[in-house]
Amino acid sequence: MNKKLLLALPLLAFLVLAGILFSRLGSNPQELPSARLGKPLPSFQLHALLAPNQVLTNADLPKQPFLLNVWASWCPSCAEEHQALMALSKEQQVVIVGVNYKDEPAAAQAFLTKHGGNPYQQIIADVDGNLGLDLGVYGAPETYIVDQQGHIRYRLAGVVAPEVWQQQLWPCYQAVLQQRESAACQF
């Protein structure tokens, strides 16, 4: 009996490993969990993209839950999600603050014009990418859900497509609006 049990061990180990690997099928190996979850947004002092004489700091951020969207004119996926962001902002009254990441102001403004408007309440011109680095940004686009206290509750490294909003962001955003904790959020 003991021997049978021992012989079954390799099979058991295989099944456990197969189970673990199967559960990871389909998930993107490039996705990193954010190290900033639950932490306040980093402090910054940067110019506003559309008003270059204006300096924005954390005090200028909305005092309500909002989306922080990291985008740039050189990022093709950002063009893809622009429509979705416009719809969220204009039709669903979602407050979106943009971080224009490592971009040229002229190119950024041309991007907005070209794609049909500005979904952002404000746009922070993170020309050198310092704010991005403090956030742990490793590519564009990225979208963060920030709660009333200014803490990061969700980080999406990818495009805000309608399905992504429905299945990933909205459940957390809803909880954040209601000021409650939720398993739908990453923190």
Binding site: Q30, A35, G136
Partner: protein, 155 residues
């Protein structure tokens, strides 16, 4: 040798030499001492490029790798220690960014798993070896003769 074949020869050598040149963008950082440069190289070798699939900062051309290399250099210039720089990166990008994750409860399996597995295999092997039946007593001359006769028959 004809002109054409000589030309082909020269051209081939030239192409081979050119093929060894890498035209990747090279980040240039100034260091005061070789020790400082060695320290920088060591740091960017142990930090992972967050966007790449298993490349360190030293070996990556990605934009984010360049940014993190520059930031590492800046932090060194500011007088930060190696540990402070590592912690700076981990605070922003998580444990994933270092090729030497900290030894804590969440990484025990990673650090000790292989040794545990090795010990387990060794234990199983020793146990199996003990389980084998001991050598039987040698045959007496009568039995030896019988054995020889039997073996002859099966030839």
């Amino acid at each position: 040798m004809s002109v054409l074949s000589r030309l082909t020869q020269v051209l081939s050598v030239l192409l081979l030499v050119l093929a060894t040149q890498a035209w990747a963008a090279i980040d240039v950082y100034q260091f005061k001492t070789p020790e400082e440069e060695a320290r920088f190289q060591s740091l960017i070798s142990e930090l992972r490029c967050p966007k790449c699939q298993n490349q360190n900062l030293a070996g990556s051309d990605a934009g984010i790798a360049h940014d993190l290399k520059t930031r590492t250099y800046q932090l060194m210039k500011e007088g930060k220690s190696d540990n402070e720089i590592r912690q700076y990166m981990i605070d922003r990008y998580g444990e994933f960014i270092t090729y030497k994750p900290a030894v804590k409860s969440s990484t025990w399996l990673l650090w000790f798993g292989p040794f545990v597995l090795l010990v387990l295999v060794a234990v199983i092997l020793i146990w199996r070896h003990r389980q084998q039946p001991t050598v039987t007593a040698p045959l007496n001359p009568e039995e030896q003769a019988r054995l020889a006769a039997l073996l002859k028959r099966t030839d």
